[in-house]
């Protein structure tokens, strides 16, 4: 499959002038297919922003390789195809929103008309191009940053905490906007603390913790990366025999954990055969599907 991002054995250690070196990423290997919406989640200090900076050549890796849209992110032709919204974007307060977009467009070698700039701003819910950025609220600044990232229809959109400071209505609008971008074929890389938002927008998830990729896959895979299946049996199933077969009673049925700690098909079927032989009638079997919060908590092996 064609890939938007390929990183291999990527590592980064920050070396502050004073103080000890701070490892941020170690041995990260990851591929993001083109057209995917990839959500990067993890606790503070996990290395998410560092990872994004390495993808954009804002920082250089200590080791490993980075390939973005089939090329080196140091290449300005590659970066021309990437839209980026940094975390806590700092905008030049003296300029108007229109000035800023015009400036970004010029650096992206675009020549949008005034009408096109207005459309870009309206698309992110900003009314006028003339208002000075100094008078913008936090949410408006975020929206302007997003408008800048979307200029020129990028092939890869990298958003670091895109909903930071945006109200709930704005979040819905942002989600619709990102869905529209995906429909256009844009690859999304979203780093957000808002797991519910990530879950709604992204179809692939990566969990980063202490500089290492702990879990990665499609949203379904990640949510089912549980160590158990949940079975429901018809009324009258013998509880003691089910326990003997390896099932554990839970709130919503009987959970089965395979001998290797994963959803092992052989072990599951053997347990089901034993349950059926004891008179239990299976009515439903499903892998346990959890929300991202649970997945993250279990992956990190600590409560969030």
């Amino acid at each position: 499959m064609d890939s938007a991002v390929v990183v291999e054995n990527l590592s980064k250690t920050w070396r502050p002038p004073l103080g000890p070196p701070q490892p941020a990423l170690s041995g990260l290997t990851l591929t993001i297919p083109r057209g995917a919406a990839f959500g990067l989640i993890g606790p503070n200090g996990a290395g998410k922003t560092t990872f994004i900076k390495l993808l954009l050549a804002v920082a250089r890796p200590t080791g490993g390789t980075v390939e973005v849209l089939g090329g080196d992110p140091e290449d300005t032709r590659i970066r021309a195809r990437v839209g980026y919204l940094p975390e806590r974007m700092h905008l030049p307060a003296a300029l108007s929103g229109g000035d800023f977009l015009r400036s970004v467009a010029a650096l992206k070698r675009l020549r949008p008309s005034e009408a096109a700039l207005r459309v870009s701003m309206e698309r992110v819910g900003l009314g006028t191009t003339k208002q000075r950025i100094a008078t913008y609220s936090k949410g408006m600044r975020q929206r302007l940053g997003l408008a800048a990232a979307l200029l020129g229809g990028p092939d890869l959109l990298v958003l670091d905490e895109p909903t930071d400071g945006i109200d709930p209505v704005g979040r819905v609008e942002l989600r619709e906007l990102l869905v529209a971008e995906r429909r256009r074929g844009t690859t999304l890389l979203v780093n957000s603390h808002l797991l519910a938002e990530t879950e709604r927008v992204c179809d692939r998830i990566g969990i980063l913790d202490r500089g290492r990729l702990r879990l990665e896959g499609t949203l379904e895979e990640v949510r089912r990366s549980s160590t158990h299946w949940v079975a429901r049996f018809a009324e009258g199933a013998p509880a003691d025999r089910l326990r003997e077969a390896g099932f554990v009673a839970t709130g919503d049925g009987w959970a089965f954990t395979g001998p290797l700690g994963g959803p092992d098909a052989e072990a599951l079927n053997a347990a089901l055969d034993r349950a059926r032989a004891a008179g239990a009638r299976l009515v439903e079997l499903a892998p346990s599907s959890r929300d991202l919060e649970q997945v993250l908590s279990e992956t990190l092996e600590r409560p969030l």
Partner: protein, 278 residues
């Protein structure tokens, strides 16, 4: 090269939108208007018969206009160099640190612009701004004195451009300092130190004999050697303004030295910036 200009133009646009710079231009305009109103000059057949400033008689003898304007231009050129340049340096000292603010530099570097272009564009934007301010003030004063005395020449404008070369040499280490440590104060202090060392470099041969032979003299000689001779450049600028002869090769060496110093510091800045992680 287009990207360099774009970075520079963005900086100019930001400067224009900043009230500080509007205030600076307003101040220069006000000063010119004030001097224009306060200075009364009586001109008879190309000679100045008398002059008052704020009603005070400056002189009432008859002098050739050129003889009177010479010292005025000389003083103005010195003032521009030793007061105007530091004021401009302070006014421009936060452009680079502001550009490298967290959340802004990441965005800028994610755009299709090479790092050296960011450095060159920032430098170009600031020195263009300084040139515009210098030209505005010197041309304004030339027009004002021309209207008052009937004597027209471009010496002050030419001298101000020589002074501007001095600013170019001052801003290059300021930019380098801002790249190493993102601090407007440190950048301004670097400019001040460069000016002081540049003046000392001009008179180093006079200073050295007064130092004890040995390590002190050795350190002083080598410490000031890399700096362009800004004091001599200021003198050349003032002499040009007052109509005194400045040998072309002497001026060429001074301007060339300042430009080479600027280019070297700019290359160092680009090298530092290229290696820096944000």
């Amino acid at each position: 090269m287009r990207q360099v200009w774009r970075v520079g133009l963005d900086l100019l646009l930001e400067a224009i939108r900043r009230r500080w710079f509007l205030a600076l231009f307003a101040f220069v305009t006000l000063a010119l208007v004030l001097v224009g109103q306060a200075l009364q000059v009586q001109v008879v057949d190309g000679a100045i018969a008398g002059s008052t400033l704020f009603g005070e008689v400056l002189f009432d003898d008859i002098f050739l206009a050129d003889r009177v304007l010479g010292p005025v231009y000389l003083a103005t050129a010195y003032l521009g160099f030793f007061v105007g340049i530091p004021v401009l340096a302070v006014a421009c000292c936060d452009f680079a640190p502001e550009l490298m603010a967290p959340g802004r530099i990441e965005h800028l570097l994610s755009l299709p612009v090479a790092r050296w272009q960011v450095v060159a564009g920032t430098y170009l934007g600031v020195v263009t701004l300084a040139a515009a301010t210098t030209l505005y003030a010197s041309a304004g004063l030339t027009v004002l004195l021309g209207l008052k005395t009937g004597l027209w020449n471009g010496r002050l404008v030419l001298a101000s451009m020589v002074g501007w070369v001095g600013f170019c040499a001052l801003y290059a280490p300021m930019l380098a300092a801002a790249i190493v440590v993102r601090s407007a104060a440190l950048s301004a202090a670097t400019g001040f130190v460069t000016l002081v060392f540049g003046v000392m470099s001009s008179v180093r041969e006079q200073i050295i004999p007064s130092l004890e032979p040995g390590l002190g003299r050795f350190v002083f000689r080598w410490a000031v050697m890399p700096f362009p001779r800004l004091g001599t450049l200021a003198r050349a600028s003032a002499h040009l303004a007052s109509g005194q002869t400045v040998p072309a090769d002497h001026l060429g060496r001074l301007v060339g030295g300042a430009l080479i110093f600027s280019a070297a510091l700019l290359a160092l800045s680009a090298y530092q910036f290229e290696r820096k992680d944000f």
